[in-house]
């Protein structure tokens, strides 16, 4: 689980933070409600998780709440069989 957290955290930092970004992202940082990831850009994260962990996350489950922190994302991935 810790390894998965690291992988997701690394992706989020690389994909969503700008070069000169002074915001810090940790596993419990609110991503969507915190304005770091918007719902429009969230699709690339969903696609990354599906590809990386060989799972399908139904759109209905890919809610802004479920994607709001790295911790909640990891819970979601595991719920759909990601290891």
């Amino acid at each position: 689980m810790d390894e998965m957290k690291q992988v997701v955290l690394e992706y989020v930092r690389r994909e969503y933070l700008e070069e000169d970004d002074d915001r810090e992202v940790e596993v419990d940082t609110p991503l969507i409600s915190g304005g770091i990831v918007d719902s429009f850009s969230m699709v690339s994260l969903k696609r990354f998780l599906e590809k990386k962990y060989g799972i399908q996350i139904p759109d209905a489950d890919a809610s802004p709440e479920a994607f709001d922190t790295v911790e909640s994302i990891v819970v979601l991935v595991q719920r759909f069989g990601g290891k």
């Binding site: 969503y16 700008e18 915190g34 304005g35 918007d38 429009f40 850009s41 699709v43 690339s44």
Partner: protein, 415 residues
């Protein structure tokens, strides 16, 4: 009656929560034509106050230009008030096609189709031309209407970091398995006023076999030496596959928009774009006014030259005043305050000093990026700008922010 008290209470609570979040939008009534100076009733019920307008999209000052107004009058007399039809039944007049041809020439494309607005153009264009096998790769700061248009389309969507060409290239590589790739960007970004790197975007599009989509609503009429837009500004005029733009900003300020670009793509919109198919035609009076705008812009660059001068003068003046602005070449000049309450207070104080400008904060801009967005117009004279600069100085002094950069502003007011 099905609108029960419970239903009413539900919506009243929703509205209250919008208000509590500080996101409630109120209109301010203007008792004058659009221009450099307007009379604004604020707060509601107050005697209208004459203020310098620093927040209109009236970039070329054509919204109330006498020749445009006169042409609109003539259009009303000769082609009537409305067409009572969509375009393809009995809503296309000779002047609609004439305007489309003039826009095609102006924008350097192959064909053009008018829409009721650019919002409608963006809502319809993607769905009309793309399918499930395709991907749209958009800059993360594109306008909300593009986001909506992309959501209505079955093609995959993806985004790249704002103006980050390395990230865009990664995405283009990732999506080489798709049938069509479309790079989607605004020309001038409406909140930051910065300009898309269209030359680099076109080069990447050529390298990775992608089409280019440019929403030039905040650029048409004035960016580039002859005002054709961001593609002229960046030296890639004639190389953009799809341009959408509005007649509601620089190009007259009334309403209406268009999709302009490759002949087949425009024809696909004529056949399939739902906002075009199911909306009334653009009113003849607006088409007539817009044709006059085209005449004015083809015959002289005087207005965009004045706007360019005003922009440089304003940017220089704000910097000398000690305000923190976003750098760029466009007439959208954000004064950065970072803190939302400060932005609101600053706008109120400016109004008291006779300057109308609006504060923007989350969720319109990212958290901690609150600002006053100022917009220049060719209708402004130097005297307007000097008065407005003096007001910014006075209000800046009041809040003790002159000479402070981001770090100091954040330290003093928080995010």
């Amino acid at each position: 009656m099905s609108y029960s008290n419970t239903t009413r209470r539900h919506f009243a609570c929703e509205l209250e929560s919008v208000r509590e979040a500080g996101l409630f939008k109120e209109e301010r009534y203007i008792h004058a034509p659009q221009g450099a100076e307007i009379e604004v009733e604020y707060p509601k019920g107050a005697t209208p106050k004459r203020v310098i307008n620093m927040c209109a999209n009236n970039y070329l000052g054509l919204s109330s230009h006498p020749e445009v107004v006169q042409a609109a009058h003539a259009g009303l007399d000769h082609r009537g008030y409305g067409m009572s039809s969509v375009r393809f039944i009995c809503g296309t007049q000779d002047i609609h096609r004439e305007l489309e041809q003039r826009l095609t020439e102006f924008l350097g494309t192959e064909d053009t189709l008018l829409f009721p607005s650019c919002m409608d153009a963006n809502a319809g264009v993607f769905e009309a031309i793309l399918g499930e096998q395709d991907v749209m790769i958009a800059d993360r700061l594109v306008h909300a209407s593009i986001v909506d248009g992309m959501r209505l389309c079955k093609a995959m969507n993806d985004t790249y970091k704002h103006s980050d060409m390395g990230h865009l290239e990664e995405k283009l590589q990732e999506h080489q398995d798709k049938r069509f790739r479309v790079i989607v960007t605004d020309g001038v970004f409406s909140m930051d006023g910065d300009v898309a790197k269209m030359d680099e975007i076109v080069a990447l599009a050529e390298k990775y076999d992608a089409m280019t989509f440019l929403d030039d609503s905040h650029a048409s009429g004035f960016m580039g030496k002859t005002g054709r837009g961001t593609h002229e500004h960046c030296g890639v005029f004639g190389k953009i596959d799809i341009i959408t733009t509005t007649l509601g900003k620089g190009l007259g300020g009334a309403s209406g928009g268009c999709v302009s670009g490759r002949r087949e793509l425009v024809e696909m919109c004529r056949q399939r774009a739902r906002p075009y198919l199911f909306s009334n035609t653009v009113a003849p009076v607006i088409v007539s006014g817009a044709l006059k705008v085209m005449d004015l812009l083809f015959s002289s660059t005087e207005r965009r030259d004045k706007l360019e001068w005003n922009t440089e003068y304003w940017r220089k003046g704000l910097i000398e005043t000690g305000l923190d602005i976003k750098n760029g070449d466009s007439p959208i000049v954000p004064v950065m305050l970072y803190n939302a309450k400060l932005a609101q207070d600053f706008a109120k104080d400016l109004f008291a000093e006779g300057v109308y400008a609006v504060g923007f904060f989350f969720p319109v801009v990212p958290k901690g990026q609150a600002r006053i967005r100022t917009q220049l117009s060719a209708a402004h004279d130097k005297a307007h700008l000097d008065v407005a600069l003096a007001a910014f100085r006075k209000v800046g002094e009041k809040h003790g922010i002159l000479g402070l950069g981001k770090k100091d502003l954040v330290a003093k007011f928080g995010l």
